[in-house]
Structures are given as structure tokens and as C-alpha cells.
């Protein structure tokens, strides 16, 4: 694979802009923890809505889940992803966004495990901190694999060098600017990602003379493109969207973005925008691009993996300039998600580990510095992980998001809405959800993508039974829940 000059130039220019934004916001980001972790709580609807969208739409959305279109059909990939992400953000907006944004403002806290600590006590908080750091740490691995694949395409370098380069650039800009720079960079990245996926889908449909002819050609290669795939259990069509929706309602790096909103109302409006963007992106984007990949490069997909779908279609249908922008979009997807995750892990470590257990008297600046060192360690270790793992990007991400959703969604929702939920229920919900998910996954007894259908009810049972069989929470806890639903102005 040779160096692609035009594409590389466009990509470098794009990254220069991103780094420029990071440098611009460095001074403001250093002003304190609210600025660094919550972007001064000053982000409006459009920037926040696109920012949340871009945090979710990761490298996996371009290279992993999109590949499911060719592998299992558009009904599984496009419809499941569109439904799961859209309804996930709908539920986040209806049930979680407002109360948690208010909690963050009143308590001055920035992380999901802060909430678990105050709602369910220190044991649940510590458990949440540990799991968030570990799961998100692993979650960066498939992102870097996707980034490496894109960088390899444009640079013509080895996979190893490509992954190392992508990891280095992401680390520089997260360490420089914090959430403020990430949020503003993500606004640019989100628009680019949306435009490239929708634009490529449009070009693909137009090239083949409309949707009908394109689908007809692709169905020859994948007969189940527009129907249920015979190798997948019907439960998979329930499990994948439900798992993604459940993940979104409790994903720490998405929730952290809620804290940046200028007000509760603007935070909720931003999530409506995010839900709409997700619907169009997955439904229309996967329809054109995923389907065209089957027509353009069926042999490549079969032999080198369906993860290459976007790259093959882009290579065939885009001009070099647009290819440069499309590669930038993939790298943006990797960069924004990884940056959001690194910040979430950094905040968890800074607030809940460093200041609580390692140096209680640490200033904000010292705690941020300590978390930056951890982010550096995570960045380096995940580069090593990405070089070693050979699993499909889509399957790896699906497993991690469902594990996260299994652990946190029910305890979080119960913590916000059920005053009777207590510490025992919270811990049982987290442990039961995650343990049952992992047991179901590793046992191999359930059809693929259906583990959440066991883990979600187990977590629910853990919260309800654990809470009802132990002492009622204190009056203060009931007041805490009440305050989540009471305006402060």
C-alpha cells in the first residue's frame, strides 16, 4: 500500500486544526476542575448535541458496526444500530439527563461514580470507579485498531506504526486541553463524521442508479440484506439494539458530556438533537455504504474482513480530496471517542482515587496532573493492546458496551427514580448485571448479541430484591432523590 499524498495532506491539515483548537483552549482548561472536566458548564444545545453524538459515533461505527451490514444484512446492522442509539439517547434525555445535570451543578461533581457514591454509599462508588476505569481502558483498544486501519490506508505504513501514530496524536490533544477543547473539537469532528457517512451513502446510491438497483445488486452477494439473517437468532435483533440503548443510558463518557450543558433544559434539548443525528447516520449511512461495499469489493470483505467496508467504498467512489476528508472523519471518530473515554477515566481517577486515597490535600491542578499521567499510561498500554488483538472491531465493541450497560443502567435508573433503592440493592445490581453478562458471554450457551436479555433482568432483580430485603435508605437519601427532580433557580 503506497503513500496517498492528497489524502495525507488533507488529514494533516485536519489534525493541525484539531491541535490548534486544543492549544487555544489550554489556558482556560487549566483554570480549575470545573473548566477541565465540565467545560465550565457553558456549552449550548448545538455544540453539546453534536459533541454527544460524536462521543458515541466511534471508530467502530465506521469500521466495525458498518461491517455488520455486509456480514448480517442491513436490517441487523442499520436498523438495530439506528434504533438502539436513537432510543438510547431518547431514554437518556427522558430519564437521566436532567436529574444528573442538576446533580452535577448542585454537588459540583463530574463523574458517574460520584453519583453512585452519594446515592448508594462508598462501596458502590468504589466498585463503579474500578469497573469504569477497567472497562473503558479496554474500550480504547478497538478504537485504536480502527484508527490504525485508517492511518494505514492513508500513510501506507505498517499497522504497528499506524496505531502508534494515532495513539500519540490523541494523547497530545487530550492532555493539552481537557473537556473544553475536546467538546469544541468534537463539534467540528461530529459535523465531519455525519457529512462523510451521509455523503458517501448518497454518492453510492446515486452511482448505482438509485436505491432499488443498488440493493438488487448487493442482495446477490448477501441474500439476507433486507431480511432476518438465518444464522442469527431472532433474539439478536432484540438484544443488540436493547444492549446499545441500555449502554447509552449509563455510559460514563456520554453522561460526563451532560455536565457541560449550560442548563438542564439545554442539556435535554441537546440529547434530542443527538438522537435525531444517530437515527439518520445509522439508517441512511449504513444503507448506502454498507450495501455498496457488497457490490464493490465482495472478495475483499470475505477475505480481509467486513471491517473494511467503509474504506473500500470510499476508495472506489470518492475523489482524493474527499478521501482525505473521509479518512479524517474516521480518525475523528476514533479520536473523539478515545478522548472522551480518556477524560472520563482521568476524572474518575483524579476525583475518586487520587484525591480520596492518595493525596487528600491535593489541589485541583495537582489532581489533574496525576490524572494526566494515568491517561498517558493508559494511552501507551492500549496501543500495545491494539497491536495484539485480532478480534473483529464490531464484536469487541458490542461486547464491551453491553457489559457496561449490564452493570450500570438499572442501578443508575433506580438511583434517580426509586427512593427505596439502597446501598445493598445498588451493589447487587452492579455486580449481578456484570457477572451475569460475563457468565452468559463466556459460557457460549446463548446466541450472539443476546446476553443483555439475561443480564438486564438479573441486574433489575438485584436492585429490587437487595433493596427490599434490607433497611430503608435514610431520610437524607430520599431528600437527595427529591432534589434531583427539583429546579434550583
Amino acid at each position: 500500500m503506497a503513500l496517498k499524498t492528497v489524502e495525507l495532506t488533507v488529514t494533516i491539515l485536519y489534525f493541525a486544526v484539531c491541535i490548534g483548537i486544543a492549544v487555544y483552549f489550554t489556558a482556560r482548561a487549566g483554570a480549575g476542575s470545573t473548566a477541565y472536566w465540565a467545560a465550565e458548564r457553558g456549552i449550548g444545545v448545538w455544540v453539546n448535541g453534536v459533541g454527544v453524538f460524536t462521543t458515541l459515533v466511534s471508530g467502530g461505527s465506521f469500521l466495525g458496526f458498518l461491517g455488520f451490514t455486509g456480514q448480517f444484512g442491513w436490517v441487523f446492522a442499520g436498523v438495530s444500530l439506528a434504533t438502539g442509539t436513537t432510543l438510547g439517547f431518547v431514554l437518556l434525555g427522558l430519564l437521566v439527563g436532567g436529574p444528573l445535570r442538576r446533580y452535577s451543578e448542585v454537588q459540583g461533581k463530574f463523574t458517574l461514580s460520584n453519583f453512585f457514591t452519594e446515592r448508594y454509599g462508598p462501596a458502590a462508588g468504589r466498585l463503579a470507579t474500578m469497573l469504569i476505569i477497567v472497562i473503558l481502558w479496554i474500550y480504547i483498544v478497538p478504537q485504536l485498531m480502527a484508527g490504525g486501519m485508517a492511518a494505514q490506508y492513508v500513510l501506507g505504513v505498517s499497522r504497528t506504526l499506524a496505531i502508534v501514530l494515532v495513539g500519540a496524536v490523541i494523547l497530545v490533544y487530550v492532555l493539552l486541553g481537557g473537556m473544553l477543547s475536546v467538546t469544541w473539537t468534537d463539534f467540528v469532528q461530529g459535523i465531519l463524521k455525519f457529512a462523510m457517512m451521509i455523503g458517501l451513502s448518497w454518492v453510492a446510491i446515486d452511482t448505482y442508479g438509485g436505491l432499488g438497483p443498488l440493493i438488487e445488486k448487493a442482495t446477490v452477494e448477501q441474500p439476507s440484506l433486507m431480511s432476518l439473517h438465518p444464522k442469527l437468532s431472532p433474539w439478536a435483533y432484540v438484544g443488540l439494539p436493547l444492549g446499545i440503548a441500555v449502554f447509552i443510558t449509563s455510559s460514563p463518557h456520554t453522561i460526563m458530556r451532560l455536565f457541560t450543558a449550560r442548563s438542564v433544559r439545554k442539556g435535554r434539548a441537546a440529547l434530542s438533537l443527538t438522537a435525531a443525528l444517530c437515527l439518520v447516520f445509522h439508517l441512511f449511512g449504513y444503507l448506502g455504504v454498507g450495501t455498496a461495499a457488497l457490490v464493490i469489493a465482495p472478495d475483499v470483505l470475505r477475505t480481509k474482513g467486513y471491517d473494511k467496508s467503509f474504506l473500500e467504498v470510499m476508495d472506489a467512489l470518492f475523489s482524493p480530496l474527499l478521501r482525505g476528508l473521509a479518512i479524517s472523519a474516521i480518525l475523528a471518530a476514533v479520536m473523539s471517542t478515545t478522548a472522551g473515554i480518556l477524560l472520563t477515566v482521568g476524572a474518575e481517577f483524579s476525583v475518586n482515587v487520587y484525591k480520596r486515597f492518595m493525596r487528600r490535600e491535593a489541589t485541583d491542578r495537582e489532581a489533574i496532573r496525576a490524572s494526566q499521567i494515568l491517561m498517558l499510561v493508559i494511552g501507551i498500554s492500549t496501543v500495545v493492546g491494539a497491536l495484539a488483538v485480532k478480534e473483529s472491531i464490531g464484536k469487541l465493541i458490542a461486547m464491551l458496551v453491553m457489559a457496561m450497560g449490564s452493570a450500570f443502567s438499572v442501578p443508575l435508573l433506580a438511583g434517580i427514580w426509586w427512593k427505596r433503592a439502597n446501598a445493598v440493592g445498588g451493589v447487587l445490581g452492579i455486580v449481578g448485571g456484570l457477572a451475569s453478562y460475563l457468565a452468559a458471554h463466556w459460557s457460549g450457551r446463548l446466541p450472539a448479541f443476546t446476553e443483555i436479555l439475561v443480564a438486564f433482568p438479573v441486574s433489575l432483580l438485584g436492585v429490587v430484591v437487595g433493596s427490599l430485603l434490607s433497611a430503608r435508605p435514610s431520610f437524607e437519601k430520599a431528600q437527595f432523590v427529591e432534589a434531583l427532580h427539583t429546579p434550583t433557580d
Partner: protein, 71 residues
């Protein structure tokens, strides 16, 4: 002050969406997975329509939240 959670717009709309979602699985996936309209399974149409309804629900809910929360 009537702040029953069952009257919170977030809870009401979420439950409504979840009931519709589960019903769509039962009707279109469980009972008649082969049913199609314009080349696409009715199951897929149901998911798409439900997603659009969900987005509309979030827009409708914003003013309703403020009314409920200030009770």
C-alpha cells in the same frame, strides 16, 4: 404538591415507548417475522417508526418536565 413519579413526563413517555418496543418484538418478530412491506420486514419498519416517535417524544417532553418539576 402532586409530584407522583407516575405522572413525570419522562417516566410516562419512557414506559409508553418501552411498551411499544416490546409489543413490536412480540407482534412482528415473534408472531410474523416474514411479514413485509415494500421489501422490508414489518419488524424493521416498526423499529424505525418507534425511533422517530422517540425523538418527537423528547421534544414534547421538555416543556412538560418544567411544569412537573415546579409543582
Amino acid at each position: 404538591m402532586d409530584r407522583s413519579l407516575w405522572k413525570n413526563p419522562g417516566i410516562v413517555l419512557s414506559l409508553l415507548l418501552m411498551v411499544l418496543w416490546i409489543a413490536s418484538w412480540i407482534v412482528f418478530l415473534g408472531c410474523d417475522p416474514e411479514a413485509r412491506m415494500t421489501g422490508l420486514p414489518l419488524f424493521a419498519w416498526a423499529q424505525i417508526i418507534l425511533s422517530v416517535l422517540g425523538v418527537l417524544a423528547t421534544l414534547v417532553a421538555i416543556p412538560m418536565f418544567e411544569k412537573w418539576e415546579r409543582r
